[in-house]
Assembly symmetry: C2
Homo-oligomer: 415 residues x 2
């Protein structure tokens, strides 16, 4: 089944709004074992006609975003109706809903909004609880040689719920993936390269039939997806669990911060942070998760040597002797953080984010990470992750959170 | 001049790597008054042939990324040569450079790398100091009815320097933009909507000839770009400076954190932070900028009420009386942060990030921001920015940094 994506929106071509739709669709389709064959971005307006005419003969499904709004360059609905020779009729139920929404928000309804309630003959309406313009689904038609067309709203907060609730199940049905017989599972694995994962696992999976694999790597993590018959996915999963026991962040797409939060909640414990080179990225990442106030009461950014001494009680002569970027200092930071915060666990980092400040002995990318915990021997070790400043902060954040995850799972941190 | 972008790369369609090329090109072309007419993403492999054949007749310039590497599905170079009927010849200078790079990195050169040194007849080589495969420029040819073709590497750290140093000047030349007579300027403006900016400024610009405008809005900021003859841009700039004096973050594309850092450096002052609902996002944003250690020595995330009291000295009864999300508490947080850190300025925030925790009186999106400073009356005020949790943190971070910017510029913060 071939799927194409067409994104309409002048703003997407100006470079200030990142096109997140294509990535979102890519990930979702991946779960069905589908790949996007082509993704095209075009400005609002007439171009949609040409792009659809080109795509019709070569694809089975087109996901179109944008161009359903009330302004004069929102013409997707009209162009599709015209290409398929379908009449548009006013859907009173949609119009009533739009009127109702406008009334509740205190806006005045004007005539141009009526267009959003127009529905082409033979189309199914996809409800949009998060906006005015509903989506539309036009099944493939042999008479028109048209593929399945999904007309979806542009704003992500309207698009995503509509896609996951209405479009995804439809695609799954088309793909004849019986959710009872075929399943997919995602393993999120930390610290193992995609290619070594593939080289290691694929020979072991050779005897398992009806199994498809997918890999996606990012900032030290790899998502390994298993798709196929339930028994096949289970057999493969057992191998992954044995082989990568300690490296598996989770069997889901939860980010590492969610996994750490869940582990801490289960144990009824709290963590605190003492950051130098990451400058607050670790604590900010933890607080991205709803419910984080139960597992984090405070965090410290101790950027200067004085702050390390005053806030965390790191002895000034220790810093002078070993330097702020050292195993000894990060150990003292972690233990000091544990003490002053009263938390059950503490994460500390000190390193050289760059672009300046590197030396031959401690080049840009050098970082020491400390993990202290009540009843645990403190871990403190050097790591090396050279990257631009912002990627460095992100990578070190993941690495530090993964080390805490391993400890919370009862795995021994390698010295 | 019509410009299209073709991105090749299977990974771009899987949704794990965000396609940043299109956005980057969009922004750069915007400076030349150009817009991308169409952007297409395709997998590695044969599809490039079809896409180029479609694009040739309708465009003047095609920017192609990816497909120049050594693996078997990297075929852009070969496909283009074939389509234009050009022979490929081995460029010994390129091969020597690749060999040299491999030797320095201690890699073994294998035959497949030779392909990267092949150059189509009539092509100009674009040096790639950051990788092995050079880029290629094939000028438009009437004989082949081909547009200008730029074949560029996929990895952003190779692509961006090559584009800005070699491709952009070429495009500027084609566009006949004499850099001496035509200029562009970017105003980054905070807290004014794009549409009200347009409604206000465009009538005033009506009498200025040879002036093009562009707007890009994001998270409370708007970039207003003026393009045209130097005198026109200057005349328009004067109007913008008078009209939006206090709202202008800068006349560049520097992010707010860079502007705040520069202002603090000029004054030889330091800032500290006391964050509740932003959970470290503000301090992490400030430390994204190289050199931030000179203007930030420490930051505090005081998520729990106890942390606000213990670390910042906020009286427990003040929190009990007014709630942690209140003007009184954020004022005490800011002043406490100033005191315990010894900094010259302090930023404090306390709010309801959601999705839970909202009340009728203080719904999700409510935030109090405090700005304290030596010799300044403390600012503490309620703001409302409803959004999902992560966008809320980003928006509040920008808002708080912008308030500090205004103070550092000598503007009075509105009560």
């Amino acid at each position: 089944m071939r799927v194409e994506v067409v994104n309409t929106g002048t703003e997407l071509l100006l470079g200030k709004v990142v096109n997140t739709h294509a990535g979102y669709f890519g990930q979702e389709l991946f779960k069905l074992g589908l790949r996007i064959q082509r993704q095209t971005t075009i400005p609002d307006g007439d171009e949609i006609r040409t792009v659809l005419a080109e795509a019709f003969p070569r694809t089975d499904v087109i996901l179109i975003t944008g161009g359903l709004g009330p302004t004069s360059d929102d013409i997707t609905r009209e162009v599709v109706a015209e290409m398929l020779g379908r009449e548009l009729h006013l859907d009173q139920a949609i119009l009533d809903e739009i009127n109702d929404l406008f009334r509740r928000r205190g806006y005045k309804m004007n005539r141009s909004n009526d267009r959003q309630a127009m529905v082409p003959e033979g189309a199914f309406v996809l409800d949009n609880p998060n906006g005015t313009a509903p989506g539309l689904y036009l099944p493939a038609s042999e008479a028109d040689s048209s593929p399945h067309l999904f007309l979806l709203p542009g704003p992500p907060r309207e698009l995503k719920p509509m896609f996951s609730e209405l479009v995804y199940p439809k695609l799954a049905e088309m793909r004849q993936v019986e959710l009872s017989s075929s399943v997919w599972r995602n393993f999120r694995i930390y610290g193992v390269g995609e290619s070594s994962l593939a080289a290691d696992l694929e020979p072991r999976f050779a005897s398992i039939e009806n199994l498809e694999l997918g890999y996606c790597a990012r900032l030290g993590e790899v998502d390994l997806r298993l798709i196929g018959l339930e028994a096949s996915v289970e057999a493969a999963s057992r191998i992954v669990r044995i082989e990568y026991r300690e490296d598996i962040i989770g069997e889901s797409e939860d980010p590492i911060e969610q996994v750490v939060l869940d582990l801490l909640l289960q144990r009824g414990e709290v963590v605190s942070t003492a950051e130098s080179c990451t400058g607050g990225q670790i604590v900010s990442t933890l607080t991205n998760v709803s419910g984080s106030s139960a597992i984090l009461h405070q965090g410290y950014v101790t950027y200067s040597n004085e702050a390390k001494t005053e806030i965390l009680g790191v002895p000034a002569d220790l810093i002078e002797k070993h330097g702020a970027v050292s195993e000894e200092v990060v150990r003292a930071m972690a233990e000091g953080c544990l003490r002053v915060s009263g938390a059950d666990h503490a994460i500390a980092v000190s390193g050289v984010a760059g672009p300046t400040g590197g030396t031959e002995e401690k080049p840009v990318g050098t970082v020491y990470i400390g993990i202290a915990g009540k009843g645990f021997e403190t871990y403190a070790k050097r790591h090396f992750t050279p990257a631009d400043r912002i990627s460095f902060k992100l990578r070190v954040t993941r690495l530090a959170l993964d080390l805490l995850r391993r400890r919370l799972c009862g795995f021994v941190l390698e010295k």
